[in-house]
């Protein structure tokens, strides 16, 4: 981390263990981390904490909950510039090919990470997105 100020990351996933381990890891990497277990908590956290980046699980209580949260955030003028990384299980679960959807206004996301993920891969993706670099396929 060579940034002067700490970047704030919001992690939204319905698996508490995953959320807590990501929180421990990201904090260790020098980020401020806030967490939520569903899209409502996620929206509240986003509004009060105004994070720089949000990592959203796609399938939570229902299949596309993460997409809905991402869309809601983009609609909110204060939240629309928050970077979003979609965190997901298998493509088949949602019937979409995510990588092809970067830049798709229907599903606003700046990056996609497939579960399970090695944390250094996630970290690289976070740094790439925060630096505003395009995805190199």
């Amino acid at each position: 981390m060579n940034q002067m100020e700490k970047k704030k990351i919001l992690v939204v996933d319905d698996d508490l263990d995953l959320v807590l381990s990501l929180k421990a890891f990201l904090k260790n990497q020098g980020f401020d981390v806030i967490t939520a277990l569903n899209k409502y908590e996620g929206m509240d956290q986003a509004k009060t904490e105004l994070p720089d980046l949000a990592i959203l699980d796609v399938m939570m209580t229902y299949a596309h909950e993460g997409f809905d949260l991402a869309r809601d955030m983009r609609k909110d003028s204060r939240l629309k510039d928050i970077y979003i990384i979609m965190f997901t299980g298998i493509d088949k679960e949602t019937g979409m090919n995510f990588k092809a959807n970067v830049g798709n206004p229907e599903i606003p996301a700046d990056g996609y990470i497939e579960k399970p993920v090695e944390l250094h891969v996630l970290l690289d993706e976070i740094n790439r997105v925060l630096a505003g670099e395009p995805k190199n396929e």
Partner: protein
């Protein structure tokens, strides 16, 4: 038969007719030319050429209408396609009649060609429609024969020197004979072709149903695999993530946090292992061709279960009661499996009943079966969830997600066990008041 299938059948028939009509047009034109110019027959050449032209018009119209209908692109167009087919066949029959008229009337054996049209029509028309078409054929042909006989329309002869020099058309006896046999032949033909056609269609339908059933099973299986994968992947992701942090952060992370993450990884791995075990068990119960069944003392089994579950219930200060009203002590079945089913339900009842609650196991003898009822004073199941609670991986929405012991497979296993015994299982539940599972096992299958 579904609509899309009908669409494809009718398109195939339309194409078939159009192709064969082109061939017919060519043959009619050539034979007319040869018959008229080479053999100098007394046929109505002009009329026959007009018939060829009419067939060309029918073909072009059909091609145009077919395109128009298909381009409509609505959900299904088989009705329009069928109308088009009926239009074509009626036109063909009329032109065939005129062609017969122009080339010798009932003296021309060409009238046998009506057979082709009827057989073709019976492939896609209903029985009644085929018979209606048959009647139309009979009317066309009889009208031709009697109008020529009565001299209302002219007769063109097929006479060829002394080789063929007959005139059936003017003899009432031969006209009646030919028309009569023709009528009978056409009716018999319709009867046969509709019967065979129906049998073919029935066979096709049953094959198609079988294919659909197999496809549906395949789809369910694929969904099942996806659900299993999702479940496994969830646990694996958590395990890997927790361990990843511990391994890759070295000493820069708090020791208690590290310890916590390790214990979470262990729990999730344990949960995953329970899940896989249940999955294997369920699959095995399902796949076992024949269960090992025998008479066993059910009363003793119930007492054992209650005794072994007692401490489990006492830990939560839950009262565990056995109401045994059984007349006989014997039940026919697989003892281990029935034990497992009862234990599963009692475990669930204890798990979802708050402290100081009550769990009751009641056994009664009914006509041909033994009823085992496991009732609790627990949290109950929301009405929306009740129909799905026996589905694999399904957990009611009011179950706290971090209750670690559930695999979402317990009730599926119970249901499989009951069904393998030709028994029945049902559930009654009131949210906040309690749940009652009723299992019925027949005495002997």
């Amino acid at each position: 038969m579904n609509d899309l299938l009908k669409d494809s059948i009718f398109i195939t028939r339309t194409n078939w007719l159009i192709l064969h009509r082109w061939i017919t047009i060519a043959i009619v034109a050539v034979t007319t030319l040869i018959g008229g110019q080479v053999f100098k027959l007394d046929i109505n050449e002009f009329g026959l050429y007009l018939c060829s032209l009419a067939l060309i018009v029918i073909n072009l119209t059909s091609i145009y209408l077919k395109k128009l209908i298909i381009v409509q692109n609505e959900s299904s167009v088989y009705k329009e396609l069928k109308m088009l087919l009926i239009f074509q066949i009626t036109g063909d029959l009329l032109i065939l009649t005129i062609m017969i008229h122009c080339s010798g009337g009932i003296e021309n054996p060409l009238f046998a060609f009506y057979v082709f049209h009827l057989v073709n029509a019976s492939l896609f028309l209903s029985v009644i429609e085929t018979y209606l078409l048959t009647i139309l054929v009979i009317i066309f042909f009889s009208a031709l024969a009697f109008l020529e006989y009565a001299g209302i329309i002219p007769h063109y002869s097929l006479r060829y020197g002394n080789f063929f020099n007959i005139s059936y058309y003017s003899n009432l006896y031969s006209v009646n004979l030919i028309v009569g046999v023709f009528t009978l032949t056409m009716l018999m033909l319709s009867y046969l072709s509709t019967t065979i056609g129906k049998r073919l269609r029935d066979q096709e339908k049953s094959l198609r149903d079988a294919i659909n059933k197999l496809n549906e099973k395949d789809r369910i299986k694929n969904e099942y695999v996806i659900e299993v994968t999702h479940e496994v992947k969830g646990h694996l992701t958590a395990v890997l993530s927790c361990l990843d942090v511990v391994i890759n952060t070295g000493d820069t992370i708090d020791k208690t946090e590290k310890q916590y993450l390790l214990s979470r990884a262990y729990h999730r791995a344990k949960h995953l292992s329970d899940f896989v075990k249940s999955l294997l068990k369920l699959t095995r119960i399902r796949m076992d061709q024949k269960l090992e069944m025998d008479w066993f003392p059910i009363k003793d089994v119930l007492n054992e279960i209650i005794n072994s579950q007692r401490s489990n219930a006492q830990d939560k200060s839950i009262k565990l009661i056995l109401n045994d009203h059984l007349v006989l002590n014997l039940l026919y079945g697989n003892k281990l499996m029935i034990e497992e089913a009862i234990n599963n339900l009692i475990n669930n009842a204890i798990k979802y009943t708050p402290p100081k609650g009550e769990v009751t196991l009641t056994c009664t003898t009914e006509n041909n079966f033994i009823a085992l009822v496991i009732a609790d004073s627990g949290i109950g199941i929301p009405a929306d969830d009740v129909p799905r609670i026996f589905d694999e991986f399904y957990r009611a929405s009011n179950v706290v997600k971090d209750v670690e012991t559930g695999t979402g497979m317990g009730l599926s296993i119970v249901k499989q066990i009951v069904e393998r015994h030709q028994g029945e299982i049902s559930v009654e539940s009131k949210l906040g008041e309690g749940t009652k599972f009723i299992m019925k096992f027949p005495y002997k299958n």
